[in-house]
Subunit: 328 residues, 2 copies
Amino acid sequence: MATASLDVVGIGNAIVDIIAHADDGFLAAAGMVKGSMTLIDEARADEIYGKMGPGIEMSGGSAGNTIAGIASLGGRAGYIGKIRNDVLGKVFRHDITSAGVEFPTPSAIDGPATARSMILVTPDAQRTMNTFLGACVNLGPEDIDQALIERAQVTYMEGYLYDPPLAQEAFRHAARLAHAAGRKVSLSLSDSFCVQRHREAFLQLIDTHIDVLFGNEAEITALFETQDFKSATERLRAVCDLAAVTRGAAGSVIVTKEQIIEVPAAPVSRIIDTTGAGDLYASGFLYGMTHGKPFAECGRLASLAAAEIISHYGARPETPLADYVRAA
Amino acid sequence: MATASLDVVGIGNAIVDIIAHADDGFLAAAGMVKGSMTLIDEARADEIYGKMGPGIEMSGGSAGNTIAGIASLGGRAGYIGKIRNDVLGKVFRHDITSAGVEFPTPSAIDGPATARSMILVTPDAQRTMNTFLGACVNLGPEDIDQALIERAQVTYMEGYLYDPPLAQEAFRHAARLAHAAGRKVSLSLSDSFCVQRHREAFLQLIDTHIDVLFGNEAEITALFETQDFKSATERLRAVCDLAAVTRGAAGSVIVTKEQIIEVPAAPVSRIIDTTGAGDLYASGFLYGMTHGKPFAECGRLASLAAAEIISHYGARPETPLADYVRAA
């Protein structure tokens, strides 16, 4: 089985989420920008944790969520990311492997603790993330499992991986290995502030290495420094064969050289927590793509996976997505 | 504020829950009895964790859930329970104190790790618990904070506390302190297997120390070794001034020397996970009782708190219960 082909391998920051309620006043008092992901050090992590309300802990990490979603849809998936051999690291490894994902990256036996992100969910279901990267800063090219990359139809990477500096090298190394094996490389832009931090590097990366790009409206417009979505879409076409841009309740747009396909959002009776919406959109899309579905169907699967994740707390599926899609 | 009066102090096994989905086949293959709580050692905990699916971690423990529920209703509450100074212990302390509960028990600096319970939720919403008691085995009389007990109208204890042997002594010590201060003492029977393990001790304890008893139908009938609920109710009347017996979807019965009050279950659109139903029933009842409400109103608050908890995963409220009750 270890040498069977894979649909997707994800590379990302391996993070355990701590999810709690907060109101707008809490965010304001703590100086947080709603909807954003902010990198914090351990002292700030302790400070925020001391002030925030009771939480639930569950495995997260953008690419980790996407990959768990692909497994939940019935796909074959692998993951590369750095944890430590501590309690949260054990939780992360258990959750992703018991979801059926191959996770060969060894745990660090010293250095910073497993990463955690404190996610504050406001009554409007938006999430504001405060991430201590911990062990993720030591992910490097030596962690890129060549055989795993070569076995996967698509290597998928989260833009957040550009925050720990060493990982950029791992990122490009993985992209080169994938292309050398005739495979595809996909990137999620992750967050508009992340795009602002790494705009030039992302543009160069997309031009050189990326076949399939994921982003939301804010990320795409930040990437091309324009306020106009239509012109951002045209710019996208010029640099990338295939992109999927999410627009919240307005659905998403699939952009290729030849066509633009509008995809409606799937209905949700009540939105509880938008954490993971983009991650799971990518799960559905990549699952469809690696199973030979037409783009419109990829978009439909993407919308359904995103709908499941926003209907409850947390960014890993509560219902097996294969069942959820079948029921829809 | 540290000397203000309290409504309820809870004493219990301080546990972090690990909640995951499982099907009946998994329970059968693992030799688990559905709906029960089984005590396990660390090796068995590792074995079960290795086999079970992805989970979410959140603070639990029967009395801990009840006390968090009382705080969520707007009550003033304290908690006594033993954790270690490890990651899960930090999570437990954060969650209960940030809910507004006083928790003076010091963390152990050596010995077993913070307790954890692997809770498997089957598609019928039942929970099957596997608990490694860890640090809880070292809770003793020296951990009973006399001032905290004396400040509280009611000292509430979970029957599970009879499993770690040292805690029985702490239990009786707390009851004596409470009564010496003119306060009331309440017990939850916790689990029918727990009742079978400690039947004689419980009967003696109830007779000597307990003013308010909580249990479900299976626990009460196990306590009096009868299959007949009506005769169990009569026996209850003879040994206890006030008891509340839950009967799942059939609601609950409040039993006093003078009367029997039937309380309907509160409506729930979909039952997701019954973990914590009994714990939160006790929250609502004790909140009502310590706020001078008539028994029927205590029962109504109890049913509402239970309804909130079974409508989502986990045994700590997702919605502030004061808001939930107001909306009902």
